[in-house]
Amino acid sequence: MDNVDLIAGENPWSAQQRRSLRCLLGRMIPASGDYGVPGADDEAIFADVLTTARPHANHVHDALQRLDALAQGSYTDLDTAQQLVVAETFRAEQPALAGLLAAITVQCYYRDDRVMRSLDMEPRPPFPKGFEVEAGDWSLLDPVRVRPKFYREAP
């Protein structure tokens, strides 16, 4: 299957592949009651991941195939401990593919409202409100101000 077919298709991945991907995301960034945040396998975040991953459908497809191969079956059929072991093996064996999946996942996860609020961020884009940055203590510059010039003159 080539990349064009995958991108053009309504669903680049099979239902089983999507289950495997969602399961892997939950192992990558699990939900946390302590911090009050969902996992990356949360329904809304997962939907964002699927959309974001579409331009990379071919590579994601390859990654999920490799994950199932490492699981010697379906990744989702493993218990949690085995899934973690396979996920780490996958990272070690396929750093480029694992890096791509991680990049897609974190860019969706860390723009989720619930996650941003847990980090004391307002869930909004930077513009137009912007942010505050303190001016700082400019007396720190005093020892540098009294330093003699040290550039070289050149005709």
């Binding site: 990558m28 991680a102 884009p125 930077p126 137009p128 510059l141 020892p143 010039k149 550039y151």
Partner: protein, 532 residues
């Protein structure tokens, strides 16, 4: 055929905008052809929640990653440092950080002072008035009195130190090392129609506020009001010549791929250190079989980047994180040559503030500090808003084997041969990078960092493209003369970073634009006998 013009400028970026504005007062008919579009401020990533993701996609500084129809591909397989640029009105200033340092007097006399590279045919004093004029036009913030520089007067106060800047400054003071507020193209007050910085934190994705001095909002409104025509989506294939060996105009493609000829009395190249040699090498003819203005054989040779190292410290306490402009302070403690360091020439530290939430995760999944699984959240919260550091921007010396040539098979969407980069990091650069990483680590530890990470060289750091059509007085050793006119073609000028003789250890935009203004003035002073 279109109506002939007096002056045709190729490229609407940093230098094209400056030269267009300066020449406008001659009342000549001036046309600028730009292969990209205008960028609307409402299209910049900071308008959306996906601002960090778009910096890796349609607003990436890699043309190969953006791969839009206004970009040309670059074969960079032969270089450890990858090309960064932007094709559109404003050019590279759309995505630059806004660092605006000048060269130093010693940067123009590298051979005389240090026995390496070559001297420039002009000096700091030649460019000083043009630096000052450019500072006014671009609206530069900073602070007078830096002992690392001759006197200068930025037009706006410096950017805020913030928590990160103060932390780093304390570290530098502990070591007794130089630092100073950055000269910056980020406005700290409303200036010439631009709003002041509101700390969006995403300067590299384009400034939605319009605080950053990109030439689409600095020079171009003035140039267009003065009568310059700017025509976008026009990609130049080649410069044509007449029977006398003078430039007669250009052949370009419009947005629909239709070929046009534009006649001109004077042609000015302003396409950066990759785009300019690409056009010259594509402009072959019976008279110029090796490319235009290339009797020296130096078109496309002596490519210089600035090898960069990125060094970051991890702190216990919260810093600025995603807030604030990238520019803050710099250090030139290790700028001027000291051979006891094991290398010649030197570098600048440019300090940054922090990372966004996605950038934090991406970087430290990569370094192994941020695990997958149960420990992810605890680890993330120890990193988020607690990282700051600097880049070291190292002087790159000219070497003929570092080249821009034409790729034999790769082309852009109009079928024009694409550039191919071959570049090797020199031993001097490696030693300089190693020194910078070691000294930066000391500074970060002195500032209180409990851990330090570094990437050297930064593979994505091909932001500065210089040297591929160098300036000089000897036609056998240079492409343009001491005022930017090609030795071989007396109505063809180059005003971009291609004409740099050496690179210095600072960002080049200020010097590129000062040179463009200087060359424009040189043209104006010689209008009666420009082609003699």
């Amino acid at each position: 055929m279109t109506t002939p013009v007096d002056v045709l400028i190729i490229g609407a970026g940093a230098s094209g905008a400056a030269v267009a504005w300066s020449l406008a007062d001659t009342r000549m008919r001036i046309l600028c052809l730009e292969q990209g579009d205008w960028v609307k401020s409402s299209d910049y990533p900071s308008n959306g929640r996906d601002w960090e993701a778009r910096g890796m996609g349609d607003f990436s500084f890699s043309p190969n990653r953006r791969a839009s129809d206004v970009d040309y591909p670059v074969n960079e397989d032969g270089s450890p440092i990858k090309i960064a640029n932007f094709n559109g009105v404003g050019g590279g200033t759309i995505l630059y950080a806004g660092h605006f340092p000048r060269f130093h007097p010693s940067d123009f006399r590298v051979h005389s002072l240090d026995g390496v590279g070559d001297d420039w045919p002009i000096n700091y004093q030649t460019l000083e008035p043009y630096y000052a004029e450019n500072d006014r036009m671009m609206g530069i913030s900073g602070l007078a009195g830096d002992p690392a520089y001759p006197p200068m007067n930025p037009v706006m106060p410096p950017l805020p130190l913030g928590k990160a800047g103060a932390k780093l400054a304390k570290g530098m003071n502990t070591l007794g090392w130089h630092w100073w507020p950055s000269d910056s193209g980020v406005a700290t007050a409303d200036y010439d129609g631009r709003g002041k910085c509101i700390n969006l934190g995403n300067c590299l994705g384009g400034c939605a506020q319009g605080a950053k001095a990109s030439t689409d909002i600095t020079y171009w409104p003035h140039a267009i009001r003065a009568g310059v025509e700017l025509r976008t989506r026009c990609r130049v294939r080649e410069i044509t010549t007449n029977a006398q060996g003078m430039a007669s105009g250009v052949i370009y493609y419009d947005a629909h791929g239709v070929e046009h000829f534009q006649a001109a009395e004077v042609v000015i190249l302003a396409c950066n250190g990759i785009g300019t040699p690409r056009i010259l090498l594509n402009s072959t003819s019976t008279r110029f079989p090796n490319g235009l203005a290339n009797s020296s054989g130096l078109v496309g040779k002596n490519l210089m980047f600035h090898p960069y190292a990125g060094i970051f410290g991890y702190f216990e306490e919260p810093l600025d994180g995603y807030r604030g402009p990238l520019n803050v302070i710099r250090s030139q403690q290790f700028y001027e040559t000291d051979l006891s360091r094991g290398f010649v020439r030197g570098y600048t530290f440019e300090f940054s503030r922090g990372r966004g939430p996605v950038g934090t995760a991406l970087a430290d999944i990569g370094t192994g500090r941020l695990p997958w699984g149960a420990g992810h959240h605890d680890a993330y919260r120890k990193l988020f808003n607690r990282i700051t550091g600097m880049v070291a921007i190292c002087e790159d010396l000219p070497e003929e084997h570092n080249t821009v040539t034409l790729d034999r098979t790769l082309t852009d969407s109009n079928g024009i041969p694409a550039p191919k980069i071959d570049y090797t990091l020199s031993e001097n650069s490696r030693r300089m990078l190693d020194h910078a990483v070691a000294r930066a680590s000391e500074a970060l530890r002195a500032a209180g960092a409990y851990d330090v990470a570094a990437e050297s060289p930064l593979s994505v750091g091909g932001w500065h493209l210089m040297g591929t059509a160098r300036m000089g007085t000897d036609p056998s050793l240079s492409v343009v003369n001491e005022w930017g006119r090609c030795h071989d073609v007396k109505n063809l000028f180059i005003v971009d970073g291609s004409i740099f003789v050496t690179s210095a250890g600072v960002n080049p935009t200020s010097t590129i634009q000062a040179l463009a203004l200087y060359i424009a003035d040189s043209i104006k002073q010689r209008l009666a006998n420009l082609f003699d």
